[in-house]
Subunit: 357 residues, 2 copies
């Protein structure tokens, strides 16, 4: 059994230099029957030429599969088209799919590869901060279904993930900020020292390799201990219960907001709940609120929006037997999981959030 | 990590008595949030009442999900409907899906469960001989795609498989014969003594518990050694390369034939190839041919049919890098895997088969 068959065990993450030497070597020594590259309309322009150049240098052909940029591509119809393409090009079980893009591409591509002929190998080359420190590692792949985020999916680890920080230089600021929300989350759930570092970092530093490496370390440590999210891994959901519900609401309204922006709002609400339920100090709460507010927009929510968000929340994968369960903060850098939260307190946290806008 | 997360490791197979006591106990001690039962139009009538009776006796509610009988339900659109149903009924990650039916139901239900919210548990209760000795064990789940059999899928083992031989009493003879082809295969690839037993058994005995148990033993031994089909498990594909290609051809023509009938024909062709390529003796070949011919129909194949079958064969999951690879017989009870076979010899085996009809 190869490492890839155990979710998130032996996670291989390689940092890439200007010459892509790790990647070139990896492909040369792999025994794949054919290579497919999944891109979206953005990475096709900004990242694909570099990758094709590297493959050309080692005489490796590849078929490019393209989807539209944006969350809408994380959809069963798009999967179906990609499976058709793989079939048409006679991809066999030893084919390799390279996912070149942000979180949407690695989520989608990992899922498509894991299902095709009961699973072909895939490699992730994340091109966004979010992808590098979160989506591309840990083995969660999947797509949205009926406006529910990541409702269908599998746990399957990429054969390898290649981090090429230079890609971040072409990233729009909004996307950088979105990805940075996951770094904030990593600090809040695991590392008070890292939190101080982030608070003191300038925006220009958000794409620094030290931040990327620290966040990846926190995520991989957690995932290695609990690949299938039975315990510790649930900490990575901080801000994501309400954050996802908010994101789904705007997605359904066809006014999508960046994932990290939704998570930033979710972290505010869930930090509020942490104060009431786990005794997070008011000072810590205000420190969190202040930092998030200084970098992220807050969203005005109508009564109807609140109802929809609550409805989405009840469909959250993290629930159990009708109970709403959250990851909450005991303190900055310390989190607890599986905390059942009363619906009234959730509504109170949203009401508090609405007063901020 | 629970056993279920490792493909085919710790495969739990329980034989059920009249009172379904193992099953009742299993459900009572499990901590599921809700139960769903997948049936087709046949098992709804013949098997569901018994199962509902058992659940009622232990005060367990369940939601019944129904699909049409037949291979056509192993389809992405049907999956999508089932995922909608699960969502509508608010199935959470701790929900349980019980697959009550033949190979189509356990293939489909296992796949639907494995993808929903990145995987909920499922139990198989096979109601056909094929299901009991083959499809419901070993962790292969999946659906057809563009007329390619099991083109999309995952490896995921059922939490438990319950064998209730009494279900076979209501099984149409054609389905019993279809399932028996897999028992023939088990004998041919692994056990010459079992082969003699099968040859000497009367049709009335095909549903005997001794046959069911011997076949399950062969299959589980192979799967335990090689859950992900890297080596030994490929032996289970004997008769299935050409058999699947034949089955897909008739399926595409909308004249579907029973799976086991296709495999019976596939075994004749692949035994022929075994003679030419691995030195299977002519006497053994004629023994195999005679036994299969005495119980299974052979199909007339037009020139066009032959071309379509060859085309399907080249899309087989078992191929590697354009080479057509087969499991072939060295002798009755001994098989070899990954044998590259020349297209000309394949055509010759089909030509030989056509002369038999």
């Amino acid at each position: 059994m190869k490492p890839n068959d155990f979710p998130a065990a032996n996670q291989s993450i390689l940092f890439e230099d200007e010459s892509w030497s790790n990647f070139g070597f990896f492909i040369k020594q792999s025994e794949v029957s054919s290579i497919f590259i999944l891109v979206d309309s953005n990475t096709e322009v900004h990242c694909l030429p570099q990758l094709l150049g590297v493959l050309k240098a080692i005489n490796q052909e590849a078929v490019v599969l393209k989807v539209e940029a944006g969350e809408k591509s994380k959809d069963l119809t798009v999967c179906s088209k990609l499976w058709s393409e793989l079939t048409k090009h006679r991809a066999d079980r030893h084919a390799l799919l390279i996912n070149l893009g942000g979180g949407m591409i690695t989520d989608l591509g990992g899922f498509v590869a894991s299902i095709y002929k009961r699973g072909i190998d895939f490699i992730n080359i994340p091109t966004s901060l979010l992808g590098m420190i979160d989506a591309s590692i840990g083995g969660k792949c999947g797509i949205d279904f009926q406006h529910y985020k990541n409702h269908l999916g599998v746990f399957k680890t990429a054969l390898s993930t290649f981090i090429f920080p230079n890609f971040l230089s072409s990233l729009p600021e909004e996307e950088l900020t979105s990805g940075f929300a996951e770094a904030i989350k990593h600090a809040l759930i695991k590392d008070a020292t890292y939190w101080k570092e982030l608070k003191n970092s300038s925006k220009a530093n958000w794409k620094a390799i030290t931040i990327i490496k620290q966040s990846i370390q926190i995520k991989t440590d957690i995932v290695a201990n609990d690949p299938l999210e039975k315990g510790d891994r649930k900490k990575l959901n901080f801000g994501h219960s309400l954050g996802h519900a908010l994101e789904s609401y705007f997605f359904e309204k066809e006014q999508p907001i960046p994932h990290g922006f939704a998570i930033a709002s979710g972290m505010i609400m869930e930090a509020y709940i942490s104060v009431k339920q786990l005794g997070l100090s008011q000072a810590a709460f205000e420190e969190i609120l202040g930092f998030i507010q200084s970098h992220y927009p807050l969203y005005e929510l109508s009564e109807n929006a609140v109802n929809e968000i609550i409805k989405n929340l009840t469909q959250d994968k993290k629930n159990s037997g009708g109970e709403l369960r959250f990851c909450l903060l005991n303190n900055i850098g310390i989190a607890s999981v599986d905390i059942a939260v009363d619906l009234e307190l959730i509504k109170e946290s949203i009401a508090h959030y609405r007063q901020l806008t």
